[in-house]
Amino acid sequence: MADRSRNALGLGKASSLNVLTPMTRVATWIVRSSLWFFDSCKSTQRPAKALAFLPFVHWVVVGRNQFPNLDPTQPRERLHYDYLLFLSTYSGPWGPYIEAFADVLANPLDAVWSWNVGYPGARPVSRLKAYITQNQIESDHHYSAYAGASVRDVRAALRVHRELQRFAEETRGVLPDQFAAAFNRMLIGVQNDLATTGTVKDVEHVSSEDFDRTDAEQCAVSYG
């Protein structure tokens, strides 16, 4: 449960996923080059952004000699492998997240993870899920500043803000009839972005005074 961030109202929508997988020396060089390419060519990130449930993703290569050693009394690590850390924040349940990931990003996933020891391939997804489960490390604490908002909620809110800002500037001092016409045009444009956001508690319009954290957890679990 610590993978899921909380906010002032209970459980939020943002979850974390941490996967640590071993790589050989040669594989590390290839993986680092592939990740560098995906990082440099932002256009390659479009399919991941199109999924609209990934606010942040870190891919981190940790070389076998890169584990920090800060004190002479701390023994050095002697490892057989380098490691690849995949740290992702996502909105929604785990299963569909992995399925969508494998469906849309099978090629980039294979390009990076197929160099990791024991990787079965992105398809079929059942084997990928087993691989992730085996190598996943649960977060002990996860925080999001806006845990109750998914990626789509944030995108929609930013669009509404931009539109209202523009509308407020353009309609300052106009006649009421002109205002009404412009208001209706603006509303048609943003109406699909006005969905209620927040935790389950907010959706049900229950006041915080009569709603404790245990209830929030139960609702969050029931509604996924």
Binding site: N69, L85, Y143, A145, F179, D193, L194
Partner: protein, 198 residues
């Protein structure tokens, strides 16, 4: 510059934990952090989008014929996405805003420097975070040009405007215009929602 995407910095650090520290106690302490009213003590730092703390005390084994790796130290993984261009901003915010939380968690790590307002101590703390940093190789951000404050304000405005539309449907245009101006002024004057409140 993989640590940076737009205006957002993605920090990843591995902090070796002292050998005499019981990781299960540290884990229990980490898991109690979300009892904070806003989900985390990190909510006091208004530049932090997301953060996670994970104890890594063993490495995954892929089965035969793969080799089995064991760690000689456990590590505290700290990954944080924040508004800024250098970890100095994050470390300064941690040291000034949540020094007690820092001491209670990182105090169990190897060679952690003291937290103090003294500039030399601050520089040492920043250096400590740099020494434990692992460069992010690929850093993907959905909204790289947007701050925590902008996102929270936009979410608050959306909710406020949805309620406005519901409340003023079918009213006379002059009234809607006046109410909209009132709402807009109230919104622009209102403070941003607290991080972790949404």
């Amino acid at each position: 510059m993989s640590n940076l995407n737009g205006n957002i910095y993605g920090y990843t650090g591995l902090f070796p934990i002292k050998r005499d520290v019981d990781c299960s106690v540290l884990r229990a302490d980490l898991r109690s952090l979300d009892s904070h009213p806003f989900g985390s003590p990190l909510s006091s730092i208004d530049i932090v989008h997301t953060a996670r703390l994970v104890i890594i005390d063993r490495l995954p084994f892929q089965g035969e014929p793969a080799k089995y790796d064991t760690l000689t130290s456990a590590y505290l993984l700290f990954a944080c996405n924040f508004d800024g261009s250098d970890i100095e901003e994050l470390v300064t915010a941690i040291a000034t805003t949540i020094p007690d939380t820092f001491r209670s968690l990182w105090g169990r790590c190897v060679a952690v420097p003291a937290v103090s307002p003294d500039p030399a101590a601050r520089a040492e703390l920043i250096e400590y975070f740099r020494r434990c940093q692992i460069r992010t190789t690929l850093f993907l951000v959905d909204q790289p040009g947007t701050t925590v404050k902008q996102i929270l304000r936009s979410l608050a405005l959306t909710r406020r405007f949805a309620a406005f539309v519901e409340q003023h449907q079918g009213e006379d245009p002059s009234i809607v215009q006046q109410r909209f101006e009132d709402m807009w002024q109230a919104f622009t004057a209102a403070p941003s929602p607290s991080p972790g409140s949404w």
